[in-house]
Amino acid sequence: MAAGPYNYSYIFKYIIIGDMGVGKSCLLHQFTEKKFMADCPHTIGVEFGTRIIEVSGQKIKLQIWDTAGQERFRAVTRSYYRGAAGALMVYDITRRSTYNHLSSWLTDARNLTNPNTVIFLIGNKSDLEAQRDVTYEEAKQFADENECSAKTGDNVEDAFLDTAKKIYQNIQDGSLDLNAAESGVQHKPATPRNPLNTDQTPSKEGCAC
Protein backbone atom coordinates (compact mmCIF):
# COMPACT_ATOMS: atom_id res chain seq x y z
CA MET A 1 0.00 0.00 0.00
CA ALA A 2 2.22 2.76 1.25
CA ALA A 3 5.27 3.40 -0.88
CA GLY A 4 7.49 4.32 2.02
CA PRO A 5 7.34 5.25 5.62
CA TYR A 6 6.86 8.92 4.79
CA ASN A 7 4.69 9.35 1.75
CA TYR A 8 3.28 12.50 3.30
CA SER A 9 4.81 15.69 4.64
CA TYR A 10 2.49 16.52 7.49
CA ILE A 11 0.19 14.85 9.94
CA PHE A 12 -2.84 16.81 11.16
CA LYS A 13 -4.87 15.62 14.09
CA TYR A 14 -8.63 16.18 13.82
CA ILE A 15 -11.31 15.60 16.35
CA ILE A 16 -15.01 15.15 15.54
CA ILE A 17 -17.42 16.28 18.25
CA GLY A 18 -21.16 16.81 18.69
CA ASP A 19 -24.28 15.24 20.18
CA MET A 20 -25.04 11.55 19.89
CA GLY A 21 -26.73 10.46 16.70
CA VAL A 22 -25.72 13.47 14.59
CA GLY A 23 -23.69 11.22 12.32
CA LYS A 24 -20.09 11.79 13.40
CA SER A 25 -19.00 8.22 12.71
CA CYS A 26 -20.88 8.19 9.41
CA LEU A 27 -19.03 11.34 8.35
CA LEU A 28 -15.73 9.74 9.21
CA HIS A 29 -16.67 6.57 7.38
CA GLN A 30 -17.87 8.52 4.37
CA PHE A 31 -14.60 10.43 4.28
CA THR A 32 -12.19 7.55 4.84
CA GLU A 33 -14.05 4.78 2.97
CA LYS A 34 -16.11 6.93 0.58
CA LYS A 35 -19.15 4.88 1.46
CA PHE A 36 -22.25 5.60 3.44
CA MET A 37 -22.81 3.27 6.33
CA ALA A 38 -26.45 3.05 7.38
CA ASP A 39 -26.94 2.12 11.01
CA CYS A 40 -23.45 3.10 12.14
CA PRO A 41 -22.87 1.43 15.49
CA HIS A 42 -22.62 4.07 18.17
CA THR A 43 -19.15 4.93 19.35
CA ILE A 44 -18.17 3.78 22.81
CA GLY A 45 -15.17 5.89 23.77
CA VAL A 46 -13.24 6.86 20.66
CA GLU A 47 -12.63 5.55 17.14
CA PHE A 48 -9.91 6.47 14.69
CA GLY A 49 -9.63 6.98 10.98
CA THR A 50 -6.92 8.17 8.62
CA ARG A 51 -6.67 9.38 5.07
CA ILE A 52 -3.97 11.07 3.07
CA ILE A 53 -5.07 14.18 1.22
CA GLU A 54 -3.30 16.79 -0.85
CA VAL A 55 -3.24 20.50 -0.15
CA SER A 56 -1.17 22.86 -2.34
CA GLY A 57 0.85 19.94 -3.65
CA GLN A 58 1.68 18.72 -0.15
CA LYS A 59 0.58 15.29 1.00
CA ILE A 60 -1.06 15.49 4.39
CA LYS A 61 -2.09 12.59 6.55
CA LEU A 62 -5.25 13.30 8.51
CA GLN A 63 -5.52 11.42 11.76
CA ILE A 64 -9.13 11.71 12.81
CA TRP A 65 -10.45 11.02 16.30
CA ASP A 66 -14.14 10.26 16.33
CA THR A 67 -15.63 10.64 19.79
CA ALA A 68 -18.63 9.23 21.63
CA GLY A 69 -21.40 11.82 21.66
CA GLN A 70 -23.36 10.74 24.69
CA GLU A 71 -23.05 13.21 27.52
CA ARG A 72 -21.69 10.73 30.05
CA PHE A 73 -18.66 9.97 27.86
CA ARG A 74 -17.69 13.60 27.84
CA ALA A 75 -15.58 13.39 30.98
CA VAL A 76 -13.43 10.94 29.05
CA THR A 77 -13.55 12.38 25.54
CA ARG A 78 -12.47 15.81 26.82
CA SER A 79 -8.98 14.44 27.24
CA TYR A 80 -8.84 13.66 23.50
CA TYR A 81 -9.04 17.28 22.38
CA ARG A 82 -5.43 17.91 23.37
CA GLY A 83 -3.24 18.55 20.39
CA ALA A 84 -5.97 18.71 17.76
CA ALA A 85 -5.19 20.92 14.78
CA GLY A 86 -8.77 20.78 13.55
CA ALA A 87 -12.08 20.25 15.29
CA LEU A 88 -15.18 19.33 13.30
CA MET A 89 -18.25 20.24 15.30
CA VAL A 90 -21.28 18.41 13.99
CA TYR A 91 -25.02 18.89 14.46
CA ASP A 92 -28.04 17.33 12.79
CA ILE A 93 -30.05 19.83 10.69
CA THR A 94 -33.22 17.86 11.46
CA ARG A 95 -32.86 18.06 15.25
CA ARG A 96 -32.74 21.50 16.81
CA SER A 97 -31.55 20.22 20.17
CA THR A 98 -28.26 19.14 18.59
CA TYR A 99 -27.84 22.67 17.27
CA ASN A 100 -28.72 24.23 20.61
CA HIS A 101 -25.97 22.23 22.29
CA LEU A 102 -23.29 23.61 19.98
CA SER A 103 -22.29 26.39 22.32
CA SER A 104 -21.32 23.85 24.96
CA TRP A 105 -19.31 21.85 22.42
CA LEU A 106 -17.68 25.05 21.26
CA THR A 107 -16.73 25.97 24.81
CA ASP A 108 -15.02 22.62 25.20
CA ALA A 109 -13.28 22.96 21.86
CA ARG A 110 -12.02 26.45 22.71
CA ASN A 111 -10.91 25.56 26.22
CA LEU A 112 -9.25 22.27 25.46
CA THR A 113 -7.41 22.97 22.23
CA ASN A 114 -4.84 25.59 21.36
CA PRO A 115 -5.74 29.03 20.02
CA ASN A 116 -4.79 28.05 16.47
CA THR A 117 -7.04 25.04 16.26
CA VAL A 118 -9.34 25.40 13.28
CA ILE A 119 -12.94 24.78 14.32
CA PHE A 120 -15.37 23.89 11.58
CA LEU A 121 -19.14 23.67 11.98
CA ILE A 122 -20.91 20.95 10.04
CA GLY A 123 -24.68 20.60 9.62
CA ASN A 124 -25.15 16.96 8.73
CA LYS A 125 -28.05 15.12 7.06
CA SER A 126 -28.71 17.76 4.41
CA ASP A 127 -30.33 15.01 2.34
CA LEU A 128 -33.28 15.19 4.76
CA GLU A 129 -34.33 18.63 3.58
CA ALA A 130 -38.01 17.96 4.26
CA GLN A 131 -37.31 17.42 7.95
CA ARG A 132 -35.04 20.42 8.32
CA ASP A 133 -35.28 22.00 11.77
CA VAL A 134 -32.42 24.50 11.57
CA THR A 135 -32.08 26.93 8.68
CA TYR A 136 -28.79 27.38 6.88
CA GLU A 137 -28.88 31.13 7.46
CA GLU A 138 -29.31 30.71 11.17
CA ALA A 139 -26.35 28.41 11.44
CA LYS A 140 -24.35 30.57 9.08
CA GLN A 141 -24.75 33.36 11.57
CA PHE A 142 -23.42 31.09 14.25
CA ALA A 143 -20.31 30.27 12.29
CA ASP A 144 -18.72 29.76 8.95
CA GLU A 145 -20.37 26.54 8.23
CA ASN A 146 -20.67 23.80 5.76
CA GLU A 147 -23.77 21.74 5.27
CA CYS A 148 -23.20 18.26 4.09
CA SER A 149 -24.68 14.81 3.86
CA ALA A 150 -22.83 11.79 5.05
CA LYS A 151 -25.40 9.79 3.13
CA THR A 152 -24.92 11.32 -0.27
CA GLY A 153 -21.37 12.38 0.42
CA ASP A 154 -22.28 15.95 -0.50
CA ASN A 155 -19.67 18.38 0.80
CA VAL A 156 -18.17 15.83 3.18
CA GLU A 157 -14.88 16.02 1.31
CA ASP A 158 -14.97 19.79 1.47
CA ALA A 159 -15.52 19.87 5.20
CA PHE A 160 -12.39 17.83 5.82
CA LEU A 161 -10.36 19.46 3.04
CA ASP A 162 -11.25 23.06 3.84
CA THR A 163 -10.22 22.52 7.43
CA ALA A 164 -6.89 21.15 6.22
CA LYS A 165 -6.42 24.10 3.86
CA LYS A 166 -6.99 26.53 6.69
CA ILE A 167 -4.52 24.72 8.93
CA TYR A 168 -1.98 24.64 6.11
CA GLN A 169 -2.49 28.33 5.54
CA ASN A 170 -1.86 28.95 9.23
CA ILE A 171 1.41 27.06 8.90
CA GLN A 172 2.41 29.05 5.84
CA ASP A 173 1.70 32.45 7.33
CA GLY A 174 3.47 31.47 10.53
CA SER A 175 0.50 31.81 12.85
CA LEU A 176 0.77 28.12 13.69
CA ASP A 177 4.08 27.27 15.24
CA LEU A 178 5.06 23.73 14.30
CA ASN A 179 7.51 23.53 17.15
CA ALA A 180 4.93 24.42 19.74
CA ALA A 181 3.86 21.48 21.82
CA GLU A 182 0.40 20.21 20.96
CA SER A 183 0.05 22.18 17.76
CA GLY A 184 -1.67 19.12 16.35
CA VAL A 185 0.66 19.14 13.37
CA GLN A 186 3.68 16.97 12.82
CA HIS A 187 6.13 17.57 10.05
CA LYS A 188 7.61 14.53 8.36
CA PRO A 189 10.38 14.43 5.75
CA ALA A 190 8.76 14.32 2.35
CA THR A 191 11.08 11.90 0.65
CA PRO A 192 11.17 8.29 1.75
CA ARG A 193 14.46 7.28 3.25
CA ASN A 194 16.51 4.44 2.00
CA PRO A 195 14.23 1.52 2.74
CA LEU A 196 17.20 -0.79 3.31
CA ASN A 197 18.49 1.34 6.09
CA THR A 198 15.90 0.36 8.62
CA ASP A 199 17.91 1.46 11.61
CA GLN A 200 17.38 5.05 10.77
CA THR A 201 14.92 6.57 13.16
CA PRO A 202 12.92 9.58 12.10
CA SER A 203 14.59 12.70 13.35
CA LYS A 204 12.47 15.46 14.71
CA GLU A 205 12.07 17.72 11.76
CA GLY A 206 12.56 21.31 12.66
CA CYS A 207 13.25 23.03 9.37
CA ALA A 208 10.69 23.87 6.75
CA CYS A 209 11.50 22.62 3.26
Binding site: K35, M37, A38, D39, P41, H42, I44, F48, T50, S79
Partner: protein, 365 residues
Amino acid sequence: MFLVSNTGFLNAHLLPGGCLKRESHLSNGFKGSVVAWLSLADSRGIFINRDGNVPVEKLRQREMKWLDMFENWEKWMSKRFKKVKERCRKGIPPSLRSRAWQYLCGSKFLMDHNTGRYEEYLRQKGDPRWIEDIKKDLHRQFPLHEMFQARGGTGTHAYTIHNPHEGYCQAQGPIAAVLLMHMPAEQAFWCLVSICEKYLPGYYSPGLEAVQLDGDVLFGLLKRSSPSIYKHLKKQRVEPMLYMTEWFMCIFSRTLPWTSVLRVWDMFFCEGVKVLFRIAIVIVRIGLPDSSVLAQCPSMYETIDKLRHIPSHLLEEGFLSTESLRLNITERDMEKEHQKQVQKRKAEREAKSKGPKKTKNKIKS
Protein backbone atom coordinates in the same frame (compact mmCIF):
# COMPACT_ATOMS: atom_id res chain seq x y z
CA MET B 1 -24.36 -32.88 13.13
CA PHE B 2 -25.23 -29.58 14.62
CA LEU B 3 -27.03 -28.35 17.62
CA VAL B 4 -29.90 -26.04 17.23
CA SER B 5 -29.37 -23.02 19.39
CA ASN B 6 -30.03 -23.06 23.07
CA THR B 7 -33.39 -21.45 23.59
CA GLY B 8 -36.43 -22.82 21.90
CA PHE B 9 -37.69 -19.35 22.45
CA LEU B 10 -35.29 -17.79 20.00
CA ASN B 11 -35.96 -20.30 17.30
CA ALA B 12 -39.66 -19.86 17.62
CA HIS B 13 -39.43 -16.15 17.22
CA LEU B 14 -36.79 -15.98 14.60
CA LEU B 15 -37.98 -18.71 12.33
CA PRO B 16 -39.84 -16.38 10.02
CA GLY B 17 -36.35 -15.04 9.57
CA GLY B 18 -35.50 -11.94 7.70
CA CYS B 19 -32.00 -12.15 9.12
CA LEU B 20 -30.55 -13.53 5.97
CA LYS B 21 -32.39 -11.12 3.77
CA ARG B 22 -30.56 -8.28 5.34
CA GLU B 23 -27.16 -9.84 5.22
CA SER B 24 -26.01 -7.08 2.93
CA HIS B 25 -25.46 -5.13 6.13
CA LEU B 26 -23.00 -7.68 7.28
CA SER B 27 -20.51 -7.22 4.53
CA ASN B 28 -20.79 -3.52 5.02
CA GLY B 29 -18.13 -3.36 7.64
CA PHE B 30 -20.75 -3.48 10.35
CA LYS B 31 -19.11 -3.86 13.64
CA GLY B 32 -19.71 -6.43 16.26
CA SER B 33 -20.03 -10.05 16.91
CA VAL B 34 -23.70 -9.74 17.60
CA VAL B 35 -24.22 -9.35 13.92
CA ALA B 36 -21.73 -12.01 13.01
CA TRP B 37 -23.67 -14.38 15.16
CA LEU B 38 -26.93 -13.58 13.49
CA SER B 39 -25.32 -14.56 10.24
CA LEU B 40 -25.01 -18.07 11.57
CA ALA B 41 -28.69 -18.59 10.95
CA ASP B 42 -29.14 -21.27 8.32
CA SER B 43 -31.39 -21.04 5.31
CA ARG B 44 -34.42 -21.93 7.40
CA GLY B 45 -33.62 -19.23 9.91
CA ILE B 46 -32.57 -21.81 12.46
CA PHE B 47 -29.56 -20.86 14.44
CA ILE B 48 -26.74 -23.27 14.16
CA ASN B 49 -24.55 -23.32 17.15
CA ARG B 50 -21.03 -23.94 16.05
CA ASP B 51 -19.69 -23.91 19.52
CA GLY B 52 -16.07 -24.75 19.02
CA ASN B 53 -14.96 -28.26 18.47
CA VAL B 54 -16.56 -29.98 21.40
CA PRO B 55 -17.60 -33.49 20.33
CA VAL B 56 -21.29 -34.18 20.75
CA GLU B 57 -20.71 -36.97 23.25
CA LYS B 58 -18.71 -34.67 25.46
CA LEU B 59 -21.31 -31.98 25.14
CA ARG B 60 -24.00 -34.41 26.31
CA GLN B 61 -21.87 -35.29 29.33
CA ARG B 62 -21.41 -31.66 30.17
CA GLU B 63 -25.12 -31.02 29.84
CA MET B 64 -25.82 -33.78 32.33
CA LYS B 65 -23.32 -32.29 34.76
CA TRP B 66 -24.89 -28.86 34.47
CA LEU B 67 -28.40 -30.20 34.91
CA ASP B 68 -27.19 -31.89 38.04
CA MET B 69 -25.74 -28.63 39.30
CA PHE B 70 -29.00 -26.78 38.66
CA GLU B 71 -30.76 -29.34 40.90
CA ASN B 72 -28.63 -28.37 43.89
CA TRP B 73 -27.43 -24.97 42.86
CA GLU B 74 -26.99 -23.41 46.31
CA LYS B 75 -24.93 -26.33 47.49
CA TRP B 76 -22.69 -26.28 44.46
CA MET B 77 -22.08 -22.56 44.78
CA SER B 78 -21.32 -22.64 48.49
CA LYS B 79 -19.46 -25.93 48.78
CA ARG B 80 -18.02 -26.72 45.37
CA PHE B 81 -17.55 -23.36 43.74
CA LYS B 82 -14.14 -24.36 42.44
CA LYS B 83 -15.75 -27.05 40.34
CA VAL B 84 -18.41 -24.64 39.05
CA LYS B 85 -15.64 -22.22 38.07
CA GLU B 86 -13.76 -24.97 36.28
CA ARG B 87 -16.87 -25.93 34.31
CA CYS B 88 -17.55 -22.33 33.36
CA ARG B 89 -13.98 -22.04 32.12
CA LYS B 90 -14.48 -25.04 29.88
CA GLY B 91 -17.55 -23.37 28.41
CA ILE B 92 -21.19 -23.81 29.32
CA PRO B 93 -23.11 -26.11 26.94
CA PRO B 94 -25.02 -23.85 24.55
CA SER B 95 -28.35 -25.49 25.30
CA LEU B 96 -28.07 -24.52 28.98
CA ARG B 97 -26.21 -21.27 28.68
CA SER B 98 -29.16 -18.97 29.20
CA ARG B 99 -30.20 -20.77 32.38
CA ALA B 100 -26.66 -21.01 33.68
CA TRP B 101 -26.02 -17.29 33.22
CA GLN B 102 -29.21 -16.46 35.12
CA TYR B 103 -28.28 -18.80 37.94
CA LEU B 104 -24.70 -17.58 38.11
CA CYS B 105 -25.51 -13.88 38.21
CA GLY B 106 -28.44 -14.27 40.55
CA SER B 107 -30.88 -12.68 38.14
CA LYS B 108 -33.21 -15.64 38.49
CA PHE B 109 -33.40 -14.93 42.20
CA LEU B 110 -34.00 -11.23 41.54
CA MET B 111 -36.77 -11.99 39.09
CA ASP B 112 -38.46 -14.52 41.34
CA HIS B 113 -38.47 -12.02 44.18
CA ASN B 114 -39.74 -9.13 42.11
CA THR B 115 -42.76 -10.57 40.40
CA GLY B 116 -44.59 -8.05 38.29
CA ARG B 117 -41.91 -5.40 38.74
CA TYR B 118 -40.75 -5.53 35.14
CA GLU B 119 -44.27 -5.05 33.75
CA GLU B 120 -44.72 -2.20 36.16
CA TYR B 121 -41.58 -0.51 34.81
CA LEU B 122 -42.81 -0.93 31.29
CA ARG B 123 -46.06 0.81 32.15
CA GLN B 124 -44.17 3.86 33.43
CA LYS B 125 -43.24 6.59 31.03
CA GLY B 126 -39.67 7.15 32.10
CA ASP B 127 -37.43 10.18 31.86
CA PRO B 128 -37.83 11.66 28.37
CA ARG B 129 -34.05 12.27 28.22
CA TRP B 130 -33.27 8.58 28.34
CA ILE B 131 -36.24 7.54 26.27
CA GLU B 132 -35.11 9.75 23.43
CA ASP B 133 -31.55 8.43 23.61
CA ILE B 134 -32.76 4.85 23.57
CA LYS B 135 -34.99 5.53 20.59
CA LYS B 136 -32.08 7.00 18.67
CA ASP B 137 -29.95 3.97 19.33
CA LEU B 138 -32.49 1.27 18.61
CA HIS B 139 -32.06 1.07 14.88
CA ARG B 140 -28.31 0.95 15.17
CA GLN B 141 -28.16 -1.45 18.05
CA PHE B 142 -30.68 -3.92 16.80
CA PRO B 143 -30.60 -3.37 13.09
CA LEU B 144 -31.36 -6.86 11.99
CA HIS B 145 -34.64 -7.80 13.43
CA GLU B 146 -37.80 -6.01 14.36
CA MET B 147 -38.24 -8.17 17.39
CA PHE B 148 -34.85 -7.12 18.74
CA GLN B 149 -35.74 -3.51 18.18
CA ALA B 150 -38.95 -3.77 20.14
CA ARG B 151 -37.51 -5.84 22.96
CA GLY B 152 -34.18 -4.07 23.12
CA GLY B 153 -36.08 -0.87 23.67
CA THR B 154 -38.15 -2.27 26.50
CA GLY B 155 -35.21 -3.79 28.36
CA THR B 156 -33.12 -0.64 28.44
CA HIS B 157 -36.25 1.46 29.01
CA ALA B 158 -37.13 -0.58 32.09
CA TYR B 159 -33.58 -0.18 33.35
CA THR B 160 -33.78 3.62 33.27
CA ILE B 161 -36.82 3.41 35.54
CA HIS B 162 -35.21 0.82 37.77
CA ASN B 163 -32.14 3.01 38.17
CA PRO B 164 -33.14 6.58 37.27
CA HIS B 165 -29.88 8.05 38.55
CA GLU B 166 -27.82 5.97 36.17
CA GLY B 167 -30.25 6.27 33.27
CA TYR B 168 -29.34 4.90 29.88
CA CYS B 169 -25.76 4.43 28.79
CA GLN B 170 -25.03 3.60 25.17
CA ALA B 171 -22.69 0.82 26.18
CA GLN B 172 -25.62 -1.07 27.69
CA GLY B 173 -27.10 -1.60 24.25
CA PRO B 174 -24.67 -4.28 23.05
CA ILE B 175 -25.01 -6.06 26.41
CA ALA B 176 -28.77 -6.09 26.15
CA ALA B 177 -28.43 -7.45 22.62
CA VAL B 178 -26.33 -10.43 23.72
CA LEU B 179 -28.75 -11.18 26.56
CA LEU B 180 -31.79 -10.91 24.30
CA MET B 181 -30.30 -13.47 21.98
CA HIS B 182 -30.37 -15.93 24.83
CA MET B 183 -33.51 -15.23 26.80
CA PRO B 184 -36.89 -13.49 26.88
CA ALA B 185 -37.00 -9.78 27.64
CA GLU B 186 -37.89 -9.97 31.33
CA GLN B 187 -35.08 -12.41 32.09
CA ALA B 188 -32.67 -10.33 30.03
CA PHE B 189 -33.70 -7.26 32.00
CA TRP B 190 -32.85 -8.83 35.36
CA CYS B 191 -29.54 -10.07 33.98
CA LEU B 192 -28.79 -6.52 32.86
CA VAL B 193 -29.65 -5.26 36.34
CA SER B 194 -27.27 -7.78 37.83
CA ILE B 195 -24.43 -6.87 35.47
CA CYS B 196 -24.85 -3.13 35.97
CA GLU B 197 -25.31 -3.23 39.73
CA LYS B 198 -23.35 -6.20 40.93
CA TYR B 199 -20.65 -7.05 38.40
CA LEU B 200 -19.73 -3.64 37.04
CA PRO B 201 -21.13 -1.08 39.48
CA GLY B 202 -20.62 2.48 38.35
CA TYR B 203 -19.50 1.51 34.85
CA TYR B 204 -22.47 3.12 33.16
CA SER B 205 -22.89 6.14 35.42
CA PRO B 206 -22.22 9.66 34.18
CA GLY B 207 -18.49 10.38 34.24
CA LEU B 208 -17.47 6.72 33.86
CA GLU B 209 -15.31 6.94 36.98
CA ALA B 210 -15.37 3.21 37.57
CA VAL B 211 -14.20 2.42 34.04
CA GLN B 212 -11.40 4.92 34.30
CA LEU B 213 -10.27 3.36 37.54
CA ASP B 214 -10.26 -0.08 35.95
CA GLY B 215 -8.29 1.35 33.03
CA ASP B 216 -5.59 2.37 35.49
CA VAL B 217 -5.73 -1.04 37.15
CA LEU B 218 -5.29 -2.69 33.75
CA PHE B 219 -2.29 -0.49 33.03
CA GLY B 220 -0.78 -1.41 36.39
CA LEU B 221 -1.28 -5.10 35.65
CA LEU B 222 0.35 -4.70 32.25
CA LYS B 223 3.39 -3.23 33.96
CA ARG B 224 3.62 -6.42 35.96
CA SER B 225 2.78 -8.92 33.22
CA SER B 226 4.24 -7.30 30.11
CA PRO B 227 6.82 -4.67 31.03
CA SER B 228 8.06 -3.95 27.51
CA ILE B 229 4.53 -3.36 26.22
CA TYR B 230 3.83 -1.21 29.25
CA LYS B 231 6.92 0.90 28.57
CA HIS B 232 5.94 1.32 24.93
CA LEU B 233 2.37 2.38 25.81
CA LYS B 234 3.59 4.76 28.46
CA LYS B 235 6.16 6.35 26.18
CA GLN B 236 3.57 7.00 23.48
CA ARG B 237 0.97 8.13 26.00
CA VAL B 238 -1.50 5.51 24.88
CA GLU B 239 -3.91 5.84 27.78
CA PRO B 240 -5.93 2.75 28.69
CA MET B 241 -9.20 4.54 27.94
CA LEU B 242 -8.15 4.73 24.29
CA TYR B 243 -8.41 0.98 23.83
CA MET B 244 -10.14 -0.60 26.80
CA THR B 245 -13.33 1.48 27.12
CA GLU B 246 -15.36 -0.53 24.64
CA TRP B 247 -13.77 -3.83 25.66
CA PHE B 248 -14.81 -3.47 29.28
CA MET B 249 -18.06 -1.56 28.94
CA CYS B 250 -19.46 -3.97 26.36
CA ILE B 251 -17.84 -7.04 27.94
CA PHE B 252 -15.97 -7.67 24.68
CA SER B 253 -19.21 -8.22 22.75
CA ARG B 254 -18.06 -5.78 20.09
CA THR B 255 -14.46 -6.96 20.08
CA LEU B 256 -14.26 -10.73 19.91
CA PRO B 257 -15.58 -13.33 17.51
CA TRP B 258 -18.98 -14.57 18.65
CA THR B 259 -17.92 -17.93 20.03
CA SER B 260 -15.22 -16.19 22.05
CA VAL B 261 -17.74 -13.68 23.38
CA LEU B 262 -19.82 -16.54 24.75
CA ARG B 263 -16.84 -18.23 26.40
CA VAL B 264 -15.74 -14.97 27.97
CA TRP B 265 -19.26 -14.33 29.25
CA ASP B 266 -19.41 -17.86 30.69
CA MET B 267 -16.32 -17.08 32.76
CA PHE B 268 -17.40 -13.53 33.51
CA PHE B 269 -20.73 -14.57 35.01
CA CYS B 270 -18.87 -16.94 37.31
CA GLU B 271 -15.77 -14.96 38.23
CA GLY B 272 -16.69 -11.36 37.54
CA VAL B 273 -14.58 -8.44 36.41
CA LYS B 274 -11.28 -10.29 36.88
CA VAL B 275 -12.03 -12.12 33.68
CA LEU B 276 -12.13 -8.82 31.80
CA PHE B 277 -8.65 -7.92 33.01
CA ARG B 278 -7.23 -11.29 32.05
CA ILE B 279 -8.76 -11.22 28.59
CA ALA B 280 -7.68 -7.62 28.07
CA ILE B 281 -4.07 -8.45 28.95
CA VAL B 282 -4.12 -11.38 26.55
CA ILE B 283 -5.52 -9.22 23.75
CA VAL B 284 -2.87 -6.56 24.34
CA ARG B 285 -0.20 -9.27 24.18
CA ILE B 286 -1.66 -10.73 21.01
CA GLY B 287 -1.83 -7.27 19.41
CA LEU B 288 1.70 -6.29 20.42
CA PRO B 289 3.44 -9.66 20.63
CA ASP B 290 7.11 -8.71 20.41
CA SER B 291 9.66 -5.99 19.94
CA SER B 292 9.52 -6.23 16.15
CA VAL B 293 5.82 -5.36 16.21
CA LEU B 294 6.46 -2.58 18.69
CA ALA B 295 9.08 -1.25 16.31
CA GLN B 296 6.44 -1.08 13.59
CA CYS B 297 4.52 1.35 15.75
CA PRO B 298 6.42 4.64 15.73
CA SER B 299 3.48 6.59 17.13
CA MET B 300 0.39 6.06 19.22
CA TYR B 301 -1.80 5.70 16.13
CA GLU B 302 -0.06 2.61 14.86
CA THR B 303 -0.06 1.18 18.36
CA ILE B 304 -3.77 1.77 18.86
CA ASP B 305 -4.42 0.41 15.40
CA LYS B 306 -2.62 -2.81 16.29
CA LEU B 307 -4.63 -3.14 19.49
CA ARG B 308 -7.95 -2.46 17.86
CA HIS B 309 -7.65 -4.46 14.68
CA ILE B 310 -6.49 -7.87 15.71
CA PRO B 311 -7.34 -10.53 13.10
CA SER B 312 -10.20 -12.57 14.50
CA HIS B 313 -8.45 -15.90 13.94
CA LEU B 314 -6.03 -14.85 16.67
CA LEU B 315 -8.91 -14.38 19.07
CA GLU B 316 -10.29 -17.88 18.82
CA GLU B 317 -12.10 -18.94 22.00
CA GLY B 318 -9.96 -21.90 23.05
CA PHE B 319 -6.70 -20.03 22.68
CA LEU B 320 -8.04 -16.93 24.39
CA SER B 321 -9.34 -18.69 27.47
CA THR B 322 -6.27 -20.92 27.82
CA GLU B 323 -3.93 -17.96 27.51
CA SER B 324 -5.97 -15.90 29.96
CA LEU B 325 -5.61 -18.63 32.58
CA ARG B 326 -1.88 -19.00 31.97
CA LEU B 327 -1.07 -15.40 32.83
CA ASN B 328 1.35 -14.77 35.62
CA ILE B 329 -1.23 -12.58 37.32
CA THR B 330 -3.05 -13.85 40.38
CA GLU B 331 -6.33 -12.70 41.83
CA ARG B 332 -4.35 -11.26 44.68
CA ASP B 333 -2.26 -9.20 42.25
CA MET B 334 -5.46 -7.78 40.82
CA GLU B 335 -6.86 -6.92 44.22
CA LYS B 336 -3.58 -5.29 45.24
CA GLU B 337 -3.42 -3.25 42.07
CA HIS B 338 -7.03 -2.21 42.55
CA GLN B 339 -6.34 -1.01 46.08
CA LYS B 340 -3.26 0.82 44.88
CA GLN B 341 -5.19 2.69 42.19
CA VAL B 342 -8.05 3.51 44.56
CA GLN B 343 -5.56 5.04 46.97
CA LYS B 344 -3.83 6.90 44.19
CA ARG B 345 -7.10 8.43 43.00
CA LYS B 346 -8.07 9.32 46.51
CA ALA B 347 -4.76 11.08 47.07
CA GLU B 348 -5.10 12.94 43.78
CA ARG B 349 -8.60 14.06 44.68
CA GLU B 350 -7.45 15.27 48.08
CA ALA B 351 -4.51 17.13 46.56
CA LYS B 352 -6.90 18.78 44.11
CA SER B 353 -9.37 19.82 46.76
CA LYS B 354 -6.57 21.14 48.92
CA GLY B 355 -5.18 23.17 46.04
CA PRO B 356 -8.03 25.65 45.56
CA LYS B 357 -8.55 26.00 49.32
CA LYS B 358 -5.03 27.30 49.72
CA THR B 359 -5.52 29.92 47.06
CA LYS B 360 -8.81 30.88 48.68
CA ASN B 361 -7.04 31.46 51.95
CA LYS B 362 -4.43 33.49 50.20
CA ILE B 363 -7.05 35.67 48.65
CA LYS B 364 -8.66 36.14 52.05
CA SER B 365 -5.46 37.13 53.75
